[in-house]
Amino acid sequence: MEFKFDQKKFSDEITSFKKMLIDKKDSPGPLMPALQQAQELFGYLPKEILGLISKELSIPLAEIYGVATFYSQFSFIPKGENRVSVCLGTACYVKGSQTLLEELEVQLNIKSGSTSLDQKFSLDSARCVGDCSIAPIVIVNDDVYAKVKKNEIAGILAKYK
């Protein structure tokens, strides 16, 4: 699925991002912070931005793709307005978080790792987020839901619909 990058909508962010690249160009190991900033600013890594990073930091495009595709936190499709994630770390798994994820896939009608067509919701599984004593957890944007039961999923989603 191709989501088109609206350069006009993001023109301010692009300008400040380009300036940051030029500033960071000579610092040691600038690529990871650059990619992390881009992910933060644009919500994903449009290919135009990767080309910009390649140009400003003088790093071959292939190498940038190699790094960007290695790490789970970098996305090549935009996240939804509401980002839902379920922790599948050991403590949560042992308390049935896999079932929660499956329920969310049904309720949102998208598979884990994708974004809904209207870009309202994106769903992901997360590796352990370190909140193991309140497992299983579901995170929507910055809201953490603890000890979640399957029949509570619809209610949680309703808050964001």
Binding site: K47, L50, G51, P60, L61, A62, E63, Y65, G66, T69, F70
Partner: protein, 313 residues
Amino acid sequence: MDLIKITINNKSAEVSSELTVLQAARTMGIDIPALCYDESLEIFGACRMCIVEIEGNNKLQTSCSTLVKHGMVVTTESEKITKNRRAILQMLLDSHPNDCLTCQKAGECLLQEYAYKYGVAFRKHDGAMRPELIDTTSPYILRDNSKCILCGKCVLTCAQVNDRAVLSFAERGYDTRIIFSGDQSIEESACVSCNRCVSVCPVGALIDKRDIGKIRNWDGESKVVSCKACDYGCEFEVKSKNDKAISVVAKPPTNGRPLCLKGRLSTELKYLDNPDVPYKKLEDRFEETTWAEALEITEIVEKINKMANKEKE
């Protein structure tokens, strides 16, 4: 440079202390199998085939990445080593298509060579394999990702030339694959068709397309020549059968030699009576072209012809 004493397979020698065990073994005429090691490339340590037993250490060590130490005692072939090498080869074959009968690399494929040496065969299974992806967009390089063993040699060799570095690993884990530029086809990418990657690929994942179907590597004769197009003098292999030169392929580059398309084409033109038609690369596609264009000597040729015609008059 210090010399130290090392014993490999009960054979002792004095070697430079700066060598790795694998390099030391080679100087002693002992060959240790390796898929990802190349003396002109940085040590990668991915294939794990070069494992050896070193006295005093319970664990197998990769000889490509272990520096020699004074008094070291090494064994390069043993039951434990063979068992693990066979397991590694089986793992590689399990992800690899059973294509040897029609694969261009047959006869010069390292995977095939080691499978034969250690008696490991393809086997049927329901598990995952490298996904099929054949890129035929380039007239010079045939890319078949299903055969890639992810040894990394193509990536490393392309990165050695300053303004190339067109290849990279992408994704991670079992889904790791090799990409060109921004995960594009060869024709869309920044590849310059120098064929460095083709010359170092140990299997049939990257093949010289113009060489396909011409001759088997155990047939005919071959000689190594130096390119005359520039001072680097990169090496090429000219393959002949019945005294007729049929194909020219790049040899793995050494000593900072870059290899390039123009050099290879000029070598083709020099040695082959019927070279295939050349192509030039535009922004994102290849186009058939003339030999003068391909060697970038159109103006010179025109001038020579013009002067020859003048002379005639």
